[in-house]
């Protein structure tokens, strides 16, 4: 019998340890409760909300591993490449491939890990993050005042993301709470249908009003440059109301951009009726931004530094502490990295990459710029005829300061004052010959060198709101003096002569042109052309784009007016398609025509 003891000893040993044998050991894992009990972790979660929010509006990072990082803006270029502003060279850029050719659709716009332009589902991930923060921040050990302010930041960011969706898609799903999915059965419960356009506008405006109550005018500590201030909430509200009042959504003739018979769909893509008062709301909201800057912020004003208008205008986009900027985002990469890769001209700046996108300013857009004296340049070139290079240099050289600051054309220096002048027709390793426009885009990237800190990407700057204000006033058809004042504030800063009111129709053209020039490449025109319902006009987002192409002829170099691309436009493109997946899941009504 004693031998049995050995056997049973082992058996009982085994069974003894049974009780918690399979228990998970204590480890360093984080749960939601351990995040919001700590100030540092609560803040870190707020940074996550920033990170997934759409402040960037720009494809600032090119990462295959973490797709949360390139969800806004187009792949490989600025969205301005889709308008008459820019052309681009390079195989990464998605817009020439899909949008210029009209081959984008609900399947390929945003297939999951990659997007032509904008990833709506990642935007909702940001919204989810904001909701988690809003619902949990009260548990954190911050003071009540700090909590309110931080919560207001998250509310603002949530509103900004909704706006980002709305400007592309019309009425969208409003998600203002954390949607819980603990089992597959919950999937139906998180299918949030689209709200009407009107409801979406009201939601965002309401959120902006709520956030602006608690947001500070300024953060004393400059290390927080880039955090949300009250002016940003006012600015978002002003932009939303301006868009909402615009013809695409608030159609004076009651017509939709493509015929829509379903009255429910009609409400999703805009207001079903016209209301002039929407312009009044837009004007007031824009004026509120200007008033906040002047009277309340204590720091915000149109930038007026530097000695000459070219440097002054350039500085806005380079100087991180420019007082005109209400909200901007720091970009992940240094200038030699991915951020600038898609914008830099050829090989002038050694960025260690072989395939820059070479954004170039089209001839179509060059014509928007006046001469420095406020008159129009004479553009009488005929396609195919050779003209002397000296004429190219003269005509472009006469254009106003903002052109000189925004475009790097042949016969000029990249670094002003360096004495190194580039002639693009020359054959050399710089590959400037390949420019696909009148000159390379230099806005944002002047002074950038490999390894230097990248410029910040601007979401809101004060100049926009002068132009918003002028536009809205003009549509109300009142107060010419105020319109002139607003537009000329922006013009005087770059030392170009004033405009004067010339009746509603002519003034509208003036304001639109002023907006094109002042806000060039800042990803406004892509949406402006849509909301004005003129995107389909020849030469804007449709049809032929031209360049002034240089030839190394003897005895003198010459240039010719040449077509550079011919773009496809269909009126259904006034609004984006919803991604096919959401439509297939049955809870999203697709926009008309897609």
């Amino acid at each position: 019998m004693k031998h049995l003891i050995v056997v049973y000893l082992i058996i009982s040993l085994a069974l003894f340890s049974c009780n918690d044998y399979l228990e998970k050991p204590v480890s360093s894992d984080l749960t939601v409760d351990s995040i919001f009990v700590s100030k540092i972790r609560t803040e870190q979660f707020l940074w996550n909300v920033y990170s997934t929010a759409s402040i960037y509006e720009f494809n600032h990072f090119w990462s295959g591993s973490d797709n949360r990082f390139y969800h806004y803006g187009a792949s490989g270029s600025l969205v301005s490449v889709a308008t008459d502003e820019l052309e681009v060279e390079g195989t990464y850029a998605a817009i020439p491939k899909y949008i210029h050719t009209g081959t984008w659709n609900a399947e390929n716009i945003n297939s999951g890990s990659w997007a032509i332009e904008f990833m709506s589902h990642i935007c909702y991930q940001g919204i989810r993050n904001a909701n988690i923060f809003i619902e949990n921040v009260d548990k954190s050990p911050f003071s009540e005042e700090e909590k309110r302010s931080m919560k207001a930041e998250a509310i603002f960011l949530r509103a900004l993301m909704h706006f980002d969706l709305m400007q592309r898609l019309g009425g969208i799903s409003i998600v203002d709470r954390v949607l819980s999915v603990s089992s597959a059965n919950d999937v139906e419960g998180v299918k949030i249908p689209r709200s009407t356009y009107a409801e979406t506008v009201d939601f965002i405006v309401g959120e902006c009003d709520e956030a602006s109550k608690y947001l500070p005018n300024v953060y004393e500590d400059t290390k927080y440059l880039g955090r949300i201030v009250k002016g940003a909430a006012l600015a978002l509200k002003a932009r939303v109301l301006l868009y909402a009042a615009s013809p695409l959504f608030n159609s004076p003739d009651g017509q939709t951009y493509v015929p829509v018979s379903n009255p429910e769909l009609r409400k999703l893509i805009g207001y079903p009726d016209y209301d002039k008062n929407r312009w009044k709301l837009a004007a007031d909201a824009s004026k509120a931004v200007i008033d906040w800057a002047t009277n309340e912020s204590g720091w915000c004003k149109l930038y007026d530094g530097q000695n000459n208008p070219v440097d002054r205008y350039e500085e806005i986009f380079i100087n991180h502490t420019c007082p005109e900027v209400i909200l901007s985002a720091g970009l992940a990469q240094t200038a030699g990295g991915y951020f600038c890769l898609f914008m830099l001209p050829g090989q002038i700046i050694p960025q260690g990459q072989n395939d820059p996108s070479n954004h170039a300013v089209t001839f179509n857009f060059t014509k928007q710029y006046q001469k420095a004296d406020g008159t129009d340049q004479t553009w009488d070139e005929v396609e195919g005829t050779a003209y002397p290079y000296s004429q190219y240099q003269r005509k472009l050289g006469e254009l106003e300061a903002r052109f000189q600051a925004s475009c790097f054309q042949s016969g000029t220096e990249w670094s002003r004052g360096s004495g190194t002048v580039y002639h693009f027709y020359e054959t050399n390793t710089l590959q400037l010959k390949n420019v696909r426009g009148v000159g390379f885009m230099r806005k944002f990237v002047k002074g950038v060198r490999n390894g230097s800190v990248a410029p910040r990407w601007i979401t809101f700057r004060l100049a926009e709101f002068y132009l918003n204000y002028a536009e809205a006033l003009n549509e109300i058809d009142s107060n010419p003096a105020e319109i002139e004042w607003a537009v000329n504030q922006v013009r005087r800063r770059v030392e170009i002569p004033d405009i004067s009111y010339a009746g509603q129709e002519a003034t509208r053209k003036m304001i639109q042109r002023e907006r094109a020039v002042e806000l060039a490449f800042e990803q406004h025109r892509f949406f402006d052309l849509r909301r004005w319902r003129i995107a389909g006009q020849e030469g804007l987002m449709k049809g032929k784009m031209y360049t002034l192409k240089l030839y190394d002829t003897k005895p003198e170099p010459t240039y010719k007016l040449e077509e550079i691309s011919n773009r496809v436009w269909d009126d259904k493109m006034y609004l984006y398609p919803f991604r096919q997946k959401e439509v297939s899941l049955g809870y999203i009504v697709q926009n008309p025509g897609w």
Binding site: H3, L4, V6, V7, I10, I11, A14, S17, Y21, L22, E23, P25, D29, L30, T31, S34, I35, R41, E43, Q44, F45, W47, N48, S51, S63, S65, D66, T101, T103, E107, N108, H121, I122, Y124, Q125, G126, I127, R128, N129, S173, V175, L179, V181, V187, V190, I192, T222, K223, Y224, L225, T321, G330, L331, A332, V453, K581, E582, S584, L585, Y587
Partner: protein
């Protein structure tokens, strides 16, 4: 009913007879782990192969001996690198979209891998197929199991049996792809540039230089295979074993050495190294009967594995050899320095000889102590057992590395207009630096204990087993240990040796699930009918044995899941922070990680099997057939696919919702006869398995054809190529191809969804699954007096392979072009017969996943051939030698395949090739 009384412990009642193994085909019992059991009584489906059969293939990795041996198993080897040449094993095909990893056991205890166990120490390898066989593994049994049983000593009249075996083999690649030399390369590169609308790179003078081959420095023409590789490599193995036993003890002791080197030339093993794999195996299995009732046994087995290799990864190294353009640079400068350029610094000779070497060292020990107690004083037939096992695996690395200076040739024109070359030094010479690390360690501590009962009286046979098992597993560097618990049992009943019934169960759980959700109950029922024991067949001369059996059961698969996925985790994500401040300071951020599932559980499998075993004509012919159907459910699928994107949950959301079916059958027939001195046998097997994804929760698509649901697991998707573009007007009139601007000679794809655009939405299922649906094997042998010969064929079909990589993509990233491509390429002149697209240096249109590159292939390979002679007789006996055997064998001697590509049909890559081995060996038994 003959129940052997010495059957004391059944740790595995799963282990039953298999007819193919009937080398001792006149016996009614088979040697299987821990027991001899009457094969008539089994109701489960297994395949058993003896270690001595596996040893016939001279390879360094155990699972490369499995080819053709087990019906229902498909083996595919894609890499021949010594020490890293493990084959992929598929047991009855694929079962789950998520994880198909097999359970491996040695002497009843789970191990991570059996590949470095020496065939010499193996008694049998048992493949457990059906629910009755797998039942006791419960929560981790569903994917099938392979069970290695090591040799034991047995009672013998002799004092000791000594066996000495030695074998030496020479290896060559089964096939190496052929690439172009410099002249053709340059000419074809110019053609590619012209095709792309670019100007040619090589002048007529260059071409002349490459053609004449007079100046190897200005016009190099290097075949890196020739520079780097030897014609042959070598493999050798030696084993020495002792076994014996008396009335109260039995032992088996073995030591073995295996060495296999690689194909690289010029190495010295000191400051550079050929690939080299050396392994020492040892084993000591001892059984002691301490008293009449109590016995103890120790199974101790272990090994030392030492691997050496050049510093550059093998895959990269072989890719460089294959793809570096032949005119890139000469091997060395005229003064003997290694060449290299900024873009191509990895001159293969430099990588091999000048960068030192790396090595990896593994030690693995498994020790099992078992105590058995006969409890017949309580009731006759009852016994108890308990066993403890430890398994420790430790690995570390030892590297000697250095860098070297290499010289980039720069061509200039001298003032006289002649070529002249100067060399720019790049890199720098350093001394060898020793580094150690990359340690890995895993440890298992397992316990098993239970009660067993076995008794027959009158017409009834009764047995049961109740067992408890617990397993602890730790992995170096992981926060949490792994744990598993398992209560299992089996009840068997036989009536008049004709009607058999078995019920098995496992109540098992792992630590990976939430408390309260950790354990599952896995029952299996099996039935058998021994028809040959019915009176009407009892004395039948033709039918010697006939049995019908069937089983149905529930099994689980806990592999393929993240650890503790029921917990919602939060944490930092890669570069998910934000930048504030004028200096652009980075602030870390926390994010919600994959969405947790509190109900997270294991995969479940309903497994049905029906089988027929038979023997005819004085047991000369045996025939077995098995058919199975498996329904797998609760497979983890990512609900993010069907999650509304606008819920904000677009990250991983794994849930147990997937379903898959698998069904198939195996046939096996062996005929064995003898006529005087002449004996012969022929065995044939044929297996079929087809899986089907039943529910997969995929991203919704407009196009029905893009869903994997309803298709087999491993189905490839791609575009349908409908020829080459003839000319510009053809392109003009075709749908827009969005991948890259197309030119004549590019592949033209079918617009499946008719939207006028060719993009990913036009992808459809192309070809057959990548894992063969059908495998077949033939084992033929004969003997005459002392001579014997044996051939083993193995192959598979109903499979698609995909031709991909630089072997098929000339000039992409400046790679070389294969002869295969040259012969088939599209040119304006060769439009009709073209079988490859135009050459290009840029376009990516042609290398998209498409059916153009899919091949449905069938393979038949002579896996093993052996010719041997056995000496015996008086003179040997005088020298106290029982037997001497000498033999010649060959591995992978020839391959039949319908693949029209210049690559081994199993390897399918430009990596380390599959090898052909010619061996000679001798066996001495004392």
């Amino acid at each position: 009913m003959k129940y052997p009384r010495f059957l004391i412990v059944t740790l595995f009642f799963v282990t039953h007879a298999n007819i193919l193994v009937a080398t001792d085909n006149d016996s009614t019992t088979v040697n299987i782990p821990y027991e001899k059991q009457n094969r008539e009584c089994t109701t489960s489906s297994v395949s058993v192969v003896k270690g001595e059969d596996l040893r016939k293939s001279q390879v360094s990795t155990l699972n490369n001996t499995f080819f053709g041996r087990f019906p229902g198993m498909t083996v595919i080897q894609t890499d021949g690198e010594p020490g890293y040449d493990d084959a992929s094993i598929y047991l009855r095909g694929n079962h789950s979209m998520r994880n198909n990893n097999i359970l491996y056991l040695v002497d009843g205890f789970e191990v991570s891998n059996i590949n470095q166990v020496s065939p010499e120490e193996i008694e049998t390898v048992t493949y457990l197929k059906d629910a009755a066989a797998l039942a006791i593994y419960g929560i981790s049994g569903a994917n099938g199991a392979l069970l290695v049983t090591t040799k034991k000593g047995s009672h013998s009249n002799k004092k000791v049996n000594i066996s000495l075996k030695a074998r030496y083999g020479i290896q060559t690649p089964t096939r190496l792809p052929q690439f172009e030399g410099s002249y053709n390369y340059a000419k074809l590169y110019n053609e590619a540039l012209l095709n792309d609308g670019l100007s040619p790179l090589y002048t007529d003078k260059d071409l002349e230089g490459y053609l004449s081959r007079n100046d190897p420095y200005s016009y190099p023409d290097v075949n890196w295979y020739d520079e780097v590789l030897k014609n042959t490599s070598h493999i050798q193995d030696y084993t020495l074993s002792f076994s014996g036993g008396n009335n109260f003890s039995r032992y088996y002791v073995m030591g073995g050495y295996m060495g296999n080197d690689g194909l690289y030339n010029h190495t010295n093993g000191k400051n550079n190294s050929n690939i080299n794999f050396r392994r020492i195996n040892f084993r000591a299995n001892v059984d002691l009967d301490i008293t009449k009732r109590l016995s103890v046994s120790l199974n101790l087995g272990g090994r030392i594995e030492d691997r050496m290799f050049p510093n550059t990864g093998t895959a990269t190294f072989w890719q460089n050899m294959a793809t570096y353009a032949p005119n890139l640079y000469p091997v060395r400068t005229p003064s003997g320095q290694i060449t290299g350029t900024a873009n191509f610094p990895d001159n293969p000779i430099g990588s091999l000889l000048e960068e030192g070497y790396g090595s990896r060292h593994t030690r693995d020990v498994q020790a099992i102590v078992t105590v058995k107690e006969n409890l017949d004083f309580i009731t006759d037939g009852l016994s108890a057992f308990a066993a403890i096992s430890i398994n420790s695996n430790y690995q570390n690395g030892y590297n000697k590395t250095k860098t070297y200076s290499y010289y980039e040739p720069v061509k200039t024109l001298s003032s006289e207009g002649n070529d002249s070359i100067y060399y720019i030094q790049r890199g720098a010479d350093t001394d060898l630096t020793v580094s150690t690390g990359n340690d890995a360690e895993s440890n298992r501590r397992d316990i098993q204990a239970g009660l067993e009962y076995e008794k027959s009286f009158n017409n009834h046979g009764l047995d049961f087993l109740l067992m408890y098992r617990q397993e602890r597993y730790s992995v170096f560097g992981e926060q949490s240990l792994y744990g598993k618990q398992n209560f299992s049992g089996r009840f068997g009943y036989a009536f008049q040796r004709k009607y058999l019934a078995g019920f098995s169960f496992s109540y098992s759980g792992t630590d990976n699930y939430k408390k309260g959700y950790r354990f599952g109950f896995f029952p299996t029922l099996s039935l058998g009918w021994v028809i040959s024991n019915e009176h009407f067949l009892l004395d039948n001369q033709t039918v010697n044995f006939l049995k019908l059996r069937g089983s149905a059961g529930l099994l689980g698969n806990d592999k393929g899941a993240d650890r503790f996925a029921y917990n919602q985790y939060w944490g930092p994500a890669s570069s998910q922070g934000y930048y504030f401040g004028t200096g652009v300071t980075y602030y870390d951020a926390l994010v919600q990680l994959a969405l947790a599932d509190p109900n997270f559980t294991w995969e479940k499998s309903k497994l049905y099997n029906i089988g027929l075993e038979s023997e005819f004509f004085d047991r000369r012919l045996s025939f077995t057939v098995d058919a199975f159907y498996e329904h797998r459910y609760d497979i983890l699928v990512n609900l993010a696919n069907i999650m509304p994107g606008f819920s904000g949950v677009s990250f991983s959301t794994m849930r147990n919702r997937g379903k898959a079916d698998n069904k198939g059958f195996e046939l096996e027939a062996v005929y064995r006869d003898r006529a005087g001195d002449f004996g012969y046998f022929a065995g044939l097997s044929y297996s079929f398995a087809r899986s089907k994804i039943v529910e997969s929760y995929e991203t919704p698509h407009k196009e029905e054809a893009r869903y994997t649901q309803g298709k087999p697991i491993g189905q490839r998707f791609g575009l349908e190529a409908i020829g080459f573009f003839r000319d510009d007007s053809d392109i003009e009139n075709s749908p827009v191809h969005t991948f890259y601007p197309v030119r004549p000679g590019d592949l033209k794809y079918k617009d499946q969804n008719k939207d006028g655009i060719i993009d990913a939405n036009d992808e459809v299922a192309i070809g057959k699954p990548s894992v063969p649906e059908i495998s077949y094997a033939a084992n033929l042998g004969a003997s005459w007096k002392g001579f014997d010969v044996e051939l083993l064929f193995d192959g598979n079909t109903n499979r698609s392979v995909y031709l991909t990589g630089y072997l098929f993509w000339p000039f992409i990233n400046n790679t070389n072009i294969s002869n295969w491509t040259t012969d088939r390429r599209w040119t304006p002149e060769n439009q009709e017969n073209a079988a490859a697209p135009r050459l290009t240096t840029q376009s990516t249109n042609n290398y998209r996943s498409s059916d153009f590159w899919v091949r449905n292939i069938s393979i038949l390979r002579l896996r093993n051939a052996e010719l041997g002679y056995n000496f015996s007789g008086k003179s040997l006996r005088k020298m106290k030698i029982d037997k001497i055997r000498v033999y010649l064998s060959a591995l992978n001697l020839f391959t039949l395949s319908n693949l029209d590509a210049d690559v081994d049909p199993e390897t399918l890559s430009i990596g380390y090739p599959t090898l052909k081995t010619y061996s000679a060996g001798v066996t001495l038994n004392f």
